[in-house]
Amino acid sequence: MSTHSLVFSQIITGIGIGSRLFLVAVGLSLIFGVLDVLNFAHGVLYMIGAYVAIVVVESVAGSFALGVVAAVVAVAVVGGVLESVFIRRLYGRDEEILDQLLLTFAFVLIIEDSVRFVFGSGGKSLTPPEVLTGTVPLGAGLSVPTYRGFVVVMAVLVLAGLLAVLRYTNVGRIVRSTSSDREMARLLGVNVPRLYTGVFVVGAALAGLGGALAAPAESISSGLGNSVIIDAFVVVVIGGLGSFVGAFVGAIIIGILTAVGSEVIAGAGEFFPFVAMIVVLVLRPTGLFGGAEV
């Protein structure tokens, strides 16, 4: 493989990784931007999404689309329960941030062990549907794996959808107003507790979607949540907490740095994203797009 082809291939791989990462990071960013909740359990929601998709496709339906829908719905329900039953009790506490970290980290441990108990610690994966196998030729001898291209398109559609809702709908106005002044929004009649549950459900659903789409692309195990949450935090720090565009750009940067970096220094792909995060924190502490949308 020529150097150009190798670099191109790694960039495409990186964009694919970044697209999956975006789906989990954007939910994390959305939840923080509106609720001020740093949800450490977001990674395990992604992991649950992957497992639900695998279980549904392998043992129940055999349809990839149905597996994805089931993952989105199941993780949305789990997210709704987490917020409305547990996290809601922490709002307004003196040590709210610390309590959030302790509570959501407890869920990481509980859910991770539960999944390990049920599915074991071995890796699982899913075969992509027939229509998404193979490659799409781009000319000049270059091509893109079809499934990778599909994930990128899904990520772009999610970004476009979120931006459209945020900018052009009443729900978007409610979300933006509440994220900037929670009390004033309530004074105008916004049911903030209900909005918070709704936003958490959407954020969780996005994590479920990301997990389901990851199942055919990477090995799924109970430890997936921990690894993905660290990458997601790096993404939102680089992109700016609360920014959808920032989450997308940050995720793509991290994906490309991981993929290309592993070719530059074998086995050191994880090193470069953290260097990028440190550089951004030093030069622009609020991230590249800090607070731009939500």
Binding site: R173, R176, S177, S180, M184, R186, L187, L188, G189, N191
Partner: protein, 237 residues
Amino acid sequence: MTALELRDVNAYYGNSHILFDLAMDVEENDVVTLLGRNGAGKTTTLRAITGTVPRREGHIAYRGEEITDTAVERISRRGIKLVPEERRVFPTLTVLENVQLAHELAADPRDVEETFELFPVLDDLRGNLGRNLSGGEQQMLSVARALVQNPDLLLLDEPTEGLAPVIVDDLREVLGDVVERDVTVLMTEQNVEFALDLGERAYIIDTGSNVWNGSVEELRDREDLLEEYLSVGTGEA
């Protein structure tokens, strides 16, 4: 008919006790001004009514129904709308979006275009973000946002604070129009002339308690009260 009734209302911020057994009545379609020095408890009274004070005790009733333990948004949906002292327009929403949002959240809103007609200065700034407005424009937007929700009880917290005289005149005109539309108004105000000009009844609050109430005409003749509680005539106002 009594629109708003406060009895034995106490309010606290943490360990600080701000209101002490406050009692007050606001009749339907009345314009009541709440007067007092800085720190007397005027803003806390409005926050107690809207449910945004951290802790409150006593009885607050609106149109005969207890709202002491009612959630902020439910109080709002009953038609009680606050124009806060700090304006608090949404900085990342445009002028139009601020008004549209309020319109869509109200149970029985006023027409958006009709509201803009009351505020010609805002009409020209529809696409501007809230954070890019001047203090006067933000105050106008804050009032417009409350009015588009077609309030039954309008709470105005220091509406003229920090405004240029010409803006105060504009605001007086708009609020004069509002009080003619059967809207009950409860207003805190440091600008005694503005308050007495617009108000019909007045309460004077000092250190969290109601020390006097009566008609505005009556208060105009009570130089002792104006001097003791409002510093009017002493050169301190």
